[in-house]
């Protein structure tokens, strides 16, 4: 794959962190606009809207006085957790639930949900059951096929596995997931 295509695929399979960035930017903007209002009111000698900056600083400096320690500590823990969320978004890789398909011309990314529905269809045809009896879970390196057999009809696990693996081999996904097939011990009736 060429250089820009590899970069494009990397960007498509990882989160851009745009939503949380917008939330943080809007919150910081609101705080800053409020501070701006109070600072200008103070500069032109008008009475403050909610609290005068110097009074606010005085209250901050006197801090555990004037509030209950439980409230202050709770606010502290809450801010700490929000900070951890932001730090986690900044540091973690943020992989999205997508696989890539190698192609000489086009950079291709596929949502895992599309892969799952294609594999579910193939497993359903191989097992000869209805749509409701097959559930496929796709993650980065594993595909789990859960089949509930029709009561009284024995299913061949190796046939289902072979069909799903053949379909996966045709897809040639990157990274290549491993297949596990689980037949439910209880069957369904009335399908």
């Amino acid at each position: 794959m060429t250089q820009p295509a590899a970069r494009i695929v990397k960007r498509e399979t990882h989160s851009s962190r745009a939503p949380l960035s917008v939330v943080v930017a809007v919150l910081v903007t609101l705080l800053a606009v409020y501070g701006l209002l109070e600072a200008i009111l103070r500069a032109v000698g008008q009475p403050p809207w909610l609290v005068d900056p110097v009074t606010a600083a005085r209250r901050l400096a006197a801090l555990p006085e004037g509030t209950s320690p439980v409230l202050l500590g709770t606010i502290g823990v809450l801010l700490f957790l929000l900070g951890l969320i932001c730090l986690g978004h900044a540091v973690l890789p943020g992989r999205r639930a997508r696989h890539t398909i190698a192609d000489p011309r086009v950079a291709i990314v596929v949502d895992d949900e599309v892969i799952a529905s294609a594999l579910a269809r193939r497993a359903r045809l191989a097992a000869g059951v209805t749509r409701e009896q097959v559930m496929v879970v796709v993650s980065a390196r594993a595909v789990q096929v859960n089949v509930r057999p029709t009561s009284g009809i024995r299913l061949d696990e190796s046939r289902i596995r072979a069909a799903v693996e053949a379909e996966l081999a045709q897809m040639a996904l990157e990274p290549d997931p491993a297949v596990t097939v689980r037949l439910s011990t209880s069957g369904v009736i009335g399908v």
Binding site: P4, V9, G45, L81, L87, A107, V109, D111, A118, M171
Partner: protein, 206 residues
């Protein structure tokens, strides 16, 4: 593949996270450790006294405030502008020029410019893909990716459609477009199933 500044996003989120973690730890320690609370009051009290003394000394006119509030206001204004710029940079980068080449006089005797609009690629691909029955939705957009136009094709196949077959068909369409246009632009094909896929890690489909 749009122009979202991902490195900047992560850097600013890291700064915001560190500030929040520091603030939260500080407040919790103030609330629950009396020795630290005493030291904080001893340190911060004189600082605030110094600040209000400075504000009183630098009064602009009797009855008006000090100019340090104007300095504070200016800093906050800069912060607001920076935040608005940050938000405005998310998701930008659309382009409507697919390819541009300046003709030279020694090339074919004519000096001029050849410009291919993005609409050529977008509309031809979209028209070809909308005919297919196994796709629920098609959108084709062009982005400016590091100084070069790139086309993003997003298709939403029906449930159970094999993605590699759709991908192979679209790849051959793209090759046909290459011969039609005479230029090769990077193409991204994204197969998805709507906005639901964004909120879950493992995909469950019956």
């Amino acid at each position: 593949m749009n122009g979202t500044p991902r490195g900047l996003n992560r850097a600013l989120l890291a700064i915001a996270g560190l500030v929040l973690v520091a603030l939260g730890t500080g407040l919790a320690v103030l609330a629950w450790v009396p020795a630290v609370a005493l030291r904080w009051q001893d340190w911060a009290g004189p600082q605030v006294a110094g600040l209000s003394a400075l504000a009183a000394r630098t009064r602009l006119a009797p009855g008006a405030g000090s100019w340090i509030w104007l300095v504070v206001a200016a800093c906050l204004l800069v912060l607001v502008i920076a935040m608005v710029a940050w938000v405005a940079n998310q998701g930008k980068g659309r382009t409507n020029i697919l390819f541009q080449r300046d003709g030279a006089a020694d090339d074919d005797g004519a000096a001029g410019t050849v410009v291919l609009s993005s609409a050529i690629a977008e509309q031809s691909l979209k028209a070809a893909l909308l005919e297919r029955g196994d796709l629920l939705g098609v959108s084709v957009t062009s982005y400016d990716f590091r100084g070069q136009a790139a086309v993003r094709v997003r298709v939403l196949p029906r449930q159970g459609v094999a993605p590699h077959e759709v991908a192979a068909d679209i790849a051959s369409l793209v090759e046909a477009m290459d011969t039609l246009l005479g230029v090769q632009v990077p193409v991204l094909l994204s197969l998805g199933s709507g906005p639901r896929s964004r909120f879950t890690k493992a995909e469950r489909v019956r």
